[in-house]
Amino acid sequence: MIIKECHIENFGVLSDLSFKFIDGVNVIKEDNGWGKSTLAVFIKCMFYGMEYTKKRKKLPENKKYMPWNGGKCGGWLVFSVKDKTYRVTRYFGAKEADCEFELYDLTTNLPSRDYSENLGAELFGIDRASFERSIFIKLDSEQSKPELSGSISAKLNNLVYNTDDMNNYETAAEALDKAASAIVPKRGANGLIGKTEEEIRRVKDALADCDNAERGIKVQRGKINAADEKIAALREKSAAVSAELKNIELLEKKERYRRLSEAVTALDGRRAELAEFFRNGVPSEEELDMRARETNELDKYKSRAAEITASEEKRRFLAETEDVFAGNIPTDAEMDLYAADFDRSVKLSEEIDDISEQINDINAKRQKASRLRIAKIIGFTLIAVEWIVLLFVFSFDMTGKIVCASFAAVGFCLAALFAFIQINESRIDEAKPLKDKREALETERGKCMENLRAVSSDSGNTAAALSAMQRRLGKYNEFKRDVEIYDRAAAAAKRTEEDLIPFLAKYDADGETYFDMVQNIRGKLFEYTDAEEDYRRAAAEIRYFMAENGEELLMESVHAPKAPRVELEAAEESCRAKINLLTAERARAEQELERFAETADKRQELESRLCALNERRDELSEKHGILTDALKYLKQAREDLNMSYMTAMRDAFEKYMRMIEPERDDIVLTAKLETRIVNGGCQWEEEYHSRGYADMVNICTRLALADAMYKDEKPPLILDDPFVNLDEKKTERALEFLRRVGYERQVFYFTCHKSRSMT
């Protein structure tokens, strides 16, 4: 491949620079600080892009080569490869994402897709780091020291498109080794096989536990079977005892049935007997209560009749009295009227007497007042006459005359006044109202007396007659009431008896009195009711008994008890207790068996597990073998590959060394691209070279490597002043060496000193 020209728009210190390059050696001699290394980095960046890294220890290219003038960073480069010429243009931003890339095929002047942004790797088949190490030769960096990196080794073997396997050799070998060590560690036994075997031991131990558990199961099964046999025997015995107890129970039931039947029969007889007593009907208690009350009333009537004595005498008195009153027995009201008339007549007589006295008094007072008034009239008339006499007797003056006349006039007037009053008073009868009242009273008294004439014709004996009449009538009434009561009681007693006797006649009741008989019936009634109830209860009891025990109970055969019930119950209880004990023992054995079974049940699983673990161990063992084999053959392949490129590498190295040091043949190249000095049969490391010589050996190594790596398309070599440590003689040889290299490939040789510049 040939780089034909390039243009740097801005890149680090370089700005707006264009270069045209030739085949062979392109010497770029500039002073220090011009930007030679920057140009070399620019060329690399045109192929690989700028390196953007976040590692802080290193100043990344994107920062280091950003234009100092702040312009757009980047440029273009024209190169030819395989008869085609391309122009790659790259501009770099602050971030990788801002980068621009264009590739033009200059034959057609059209964008080309022959290569992508990953142009360097696609052209040279190696990554940026490998590119730097193989064709980007600087002296002042550890990078200039070639080493057998994975990709370089791969490249050396024409692995243009298959570098991954060599790149990953170390990783692969490490992974294989790690995996193999995981299975079988280099030290100790803590690998997977070891762990699996440990697990196998544990499973075998668990299987041994299963063996023990199975033996335990057999033992517990024996116990269970023994317990079952004993329980069965006890159950048999218990069943026999139960049968005997059942026989006793049957006997008891039959006896009970017999007793119940007898009771029913007896109660039925009693009930029939009482039913006969009540053959004419069963009275109700209410009726009996009523009959009892009737007997009481009858007794009362009878005793009352007995209390009313001398009835014949009373009846005679009654007849006499009725004769006396000619059948018109005054009633009490009439007698009261007679008494009232009598009392009224007495009272009226008294009032009449009083009024007569009042009239007499009035008349006496009237006469006295009349006499007084007459005296006054006379007196005043005398006085008036006197005054007239005086008038005429004595010659009185006028006044005297007048006075005398006046007195006389007054006297006459007063006399006239009293005369007038006397006349009027005489006309008035003050006693007249009293007289009228007395007359009325007398009339009323006359009526009373007229009424009382029926009692007695003798008005003077009216009081005594009235009193006698009253006494008779009182006695008459008393006797008459007694007779009536007696008659009513006798009638009631008769009626009651007539009602009671037919009732009592219906029953053969015992008793001295009617009441006793009623009570006797009542007692029978109670008995009858009780008998009926007892019969019903007994009948129900026997029915229930039969329902409970079944008709077949009567058919079942029984035998005489072989042992007392208590004995049998004790035997049954003993059997039950023993069965319970054995059942508990059996349950314990079951539990134990279950516990053993839990362990024994794992056998199948454990055996499967053991089988799986054995398989796993075998599988691991096989895998370990496979891993170690894989590692072994991978190493072998690598060594074979190393051997295949070493010959070419060594030839190239010796060729270049002869160009520089034709007289020396003691320097050899190892498979790891390390140079050794052979002296006295020993190999010495390159530290034993002088610095300048070491540089030359290093350059030869790098060129040998580049030769071996790029057989078809040789990329240009970029040498960044690699001969600074050489003396003048060696520098001349080196430049001559470089010139000869330039015949085979394009070389970019950067230097800052004319002594190392090629003419």
Partner: protein, 354 residues
């Protein structure tokens, strides 16, 4: 009369061989749940008897809890008889029970007969042929219960039953247990013999429909019908690969093969075929991709690597050199492939499966 024929319940199976512990525990419960659901089915469909033709439990010493649960279930279904014939895996012992429920009926080592309306059910736990087989009333429906593997020719094996010895003995139906897949064949002109298979698949060797057989006995003999009843089904899906498929190619191929499989299924994806050495079959990655789509997923790589040694003859590269070195090593061909695949995986930076 309706009868259920089931077998190989393996109720106390630990289920840990194929499944992780949590899933195994869940599946153990599901085994019992399915059995309980079958009992409900029997109740709801007027089934008179349930024949359990062996291996109700997985181990002879089954755990008490499960056995008690079984007893409770049987007690709670008094209208259905459970005719239980012990298999080679289990025993009839129920801890703590000295008296079994009346509707739990066991078979002995000799021939035991349980009679129902027009139907006799005859079973033996230890008889392997018709030697000593009782005379049957041919007017009745005769069902024979046995547990064991069908004897074929003189092939050796455990728990073998000479089924052909029962031919022409008036049998209408042989209810068999031991084989975990449904199988039904003619015994003679009159009868058939059937393996009902297990009720639930437990491993990927028990794929396909699992359930029980419903028998309907009557004047016409026995009509049987297989009832798929498993809560979950197991599937083994073979995915053929060739050339150098990428991871997405493999997933696409597996996706195609898995279509139609219920999400509650247990799936084993088996990659088969010949692939070249570039192929990276990351079984764990593929398993994870399908993990959420099914109840359980297992991925197995059974592919064979084809290495074209001629292709690497002139390949001057580390890989070429490695393959040539292995090829010339003289080791067995299969081992060569494994070594090469391991080396190439390591070179490609891929994880090494140990």
């Amino acid at each position: 009369m309706k009868i259920i024929h089931c077998a190989d319940l393996h109720l106390n199976s630990r289920m840990e061989s194929n499944l992780p512990p949590e899933k195994a525990r869940e599946r153990r419960y599901e085994l019992f749940d399915t059995f309980a659901a079958m009992v409900d089915y029997a109740k709801n469909n007027g089934v008179r008897a349930v024949i359990i033709a062996g291996d109700m439990f997985d181990t002879e010493n089954g755990c008490t809890r499960i056995k008690n649960r079984v007893l409770d279930l049987i007690k709670s279904s008094p209208e259905t008889d459970f005719l239980y014939l012990k298999g080679n895996h289990d025993s009839a012992d129920f801890p703590g029970e000295t008296q079994y429920p009346k509707n739990l009926k066991l078979f002995g080592s000799g021939w035991t007969v349980y009679s129902y309306d027009g139907t006799d059910i005859i079973g033996s736990e230890s008889c392997s042929d018709a030697d000593g087989f009782p005379e049957l009333d041919e007017k009745r429906v005769n069902i024979v219960v046995l547990h064991g593997q069908e004897k074929i020719g003189n092939l050796p094996g455990d728990n073998l039953i000479d089924i052909q010895s029962f031919a022409n003995r008036g049998i209408d139906y042989m209810a068999l247990g031991h084989i975990h897949s449904y199988k039904c064949q003619r015994l003679d002109e009159r009868g058939e013999y059937c393996y009902c298979g297990c009720l639930e698949g437990r491993g990927f060797d028990e794929c396909g429909d699992k359930g029980f057989i419903l028998l309907d006995t009557g004047a016409d003999g026995v009509i049987h019908q297989f009832i798929p009843f498993a809560k979950r089904r197991l599937y083994t899906v073979n995915v053929r690969l060739s050339g150098a498929p990428s991871g997405s190619d493999m997933i696409d191929a597996a996706n195609g093969a898995l279509s139609g499989i219920s999400s509650d299924g247990l799936v084993k994806i088996v990659f088969e075929g010949d692939v070249d050495e570039q192929t990276d079959i990351d079984t764990e990655y593929i398993r994870r991709r399908f993990e959420s789509s099914f109840y359980f997923v297992k991925v197995v790589d059974n592919t064979s690597v084809l290495i074209d040694y001629e292709r690497y003859k002139n390949d001057v590269s580390l890989k070429g050199g490695f393959i040539r070195a292995v090829n010339e090593s003289g080791m067995e061909e299969e081992r060569k492939k494994k070594v090469i695949m391991t080396g190439l995986r390591s070179l490609a930076g891929r994880e090494l499966d140990i």
